[in-house]
């Protein structure tokens, strides 16, 4: 495991995406019902991360911010990575987040957005034929996630829980 102090760190905010090259690390802090989607080129060791807030740009009129929605954010991130010379067949995905922070009835539309976000990300990744090799999703707590390009490890930190590497 590489120490985050010695390498380039790229921070991805809410409704945002970016990429980082080996040996850098890409991170997003305090994920709740949003989902972090990491695309990783296993040959070039370059990673991209999108912090997705809502499942679909098609369901909403005000959809100018493409980084907010699973469909447009993943598609834009993929284009950005392909422009950097990455090839789709070398990409794998890891996803995290999509929790339900408050324990209202999960059938409730408003509060099941975490689950819908996860589902949307999975469907889109399946469509573009990128396989998800690891995930840490759902539950009812927040996550800070760090993806290390050097070895492709995805570190998940939550309050009061041991660190996980997936």
């Amino acid at each position: 495991m590489i120490n985050s102090e010695d390498i380039e760190v790229v921070k991805v905010g809410m409704a945002d995406f970016n990429i980082v090259k080996n040996p850098g690390m890409i991170t997003t802090l305090g994920l709740g019902s949003c989902v972090a989607v990491v695309l990783y080129d296993t040959k070039l060791k370059i990673a991209g991360m999108a912090h997705v807030m809502l499942p679909s740009s098609k369901a909403i009129k005000n959809n100018n911010n493409r980084a907010k929605f699973a469909d447009t954010a993943i598609s834009d991130l993929l284009s950005m990575m392909e422009n950097e010379g990455m090839r789709r067949q070398n990409l794998i995905a890891k996803i995290a987040g999509g929790s339900q922070m408050f324990d209202f009835d999960s059938a409730d539309d408003v509060f099941s957005v975490g689950r819908k976000n996860i589902q949307a990300c999975k469907e889109i990744l399946a469509e573009i034929r990128i396989s998800i090799i690891a995930e840490d999703t759902g539950e009812n707590y927040g996550r800070t996630v760090e993806f290390y390009t050097a070895d492709g490890s995805f570190k998940i930190k939550s309050v009061g829980k041991p660190e996980k590497i997936i």
Partner: protein, 202 residues
């Protein structure tokens, strides 16, 4: 139905923020049987991406108390407090001496929910009186977690209408103790129009 909130609507929400927070202070004073002061609430419209910074960064521990609103109006209301303020509030309320290392017990948590209930309830009562619209609030739900994670809930709900969030910062004090909290009110779009109509704004 409009796609986003314009300035006039924000002004109305700001004024409602003032009235609501005033009511909440009175309710809190009565409950504690002590004089509680309130600074004039600050109402801000914040870009989604800057939301967590206000609460001390995405990883800062906060408490979020959330109620659903139904009746003539549908939506949610959330009251967010930094951990430090939670502690001060509970110490005042329960006459305790919780330090920053202490874990909160079951009683603390239900007291906190009750505070949230009163604070959101008094705000909604003010809004309801003013608009003549019925607003029924659900039992409050409480979550302790990283600010980013807690705020993702209102950010997502608000994110459906735009890229900014409405925050009402309230600052209660009792003697030397300062309790800073934030209200986030998110009516559904149709409900928002109803509020505006009933206030004669549209």
């Amino acid at each position: 139905m409009q796609d986003k909130l314009d300035e006039l609507h924000m002004d109305v929400l700001k004024e409602l923020g003032n009235i609501g927070a005033g009511n909440a202070t009175t309710a809190l004073s009565q409950m504690l049987n002590r004089s509680i002061m309130m600074r004039v609430p600050e109402v801000k419209v914040v870009e989604l991406k800057d939301v967590s910074a206000i609460l001390g960064g995405e990883e800062n521990m906060v408490a979020g108390i959330l109620v659903k609103i139904s009746g003539d109006i549908n939506g949610i209301m959330m009251y967010v407090l930094e951990y430090e303020s939670v502690r001060i509030m509970l110490n005042i309320l329960l006459n305790k001496n919780i330090t920053s290392e202490d874990e909160l017990c079951e009683m603390d948590l239900s007291a906190l929910k009750e505070i949230g209930n009163i604070l959101t309830g008094s705000y909604l009562t003010a809004l309801s009186k003013l608009t003549n619209l019925t607003m029924i609030q659900s039992i409050p739900k409480l979550a302790f977690d990283m600010a980013g994670a807690i705020l993702s809930v209102p950010a997502i709900l608000f994110g459906k209408t735009g890229d900014s969030v409405l925050f009402i910062k309230t600052d209660f004090n009792e003697g030397d103790c300062d309790v800073v909290g934030y209200y986030i009110l998110i009516p559904e779009l149709q409900s928002f129009d109803k509020i505006m109509k009933s206030l004669g704004v549209v």
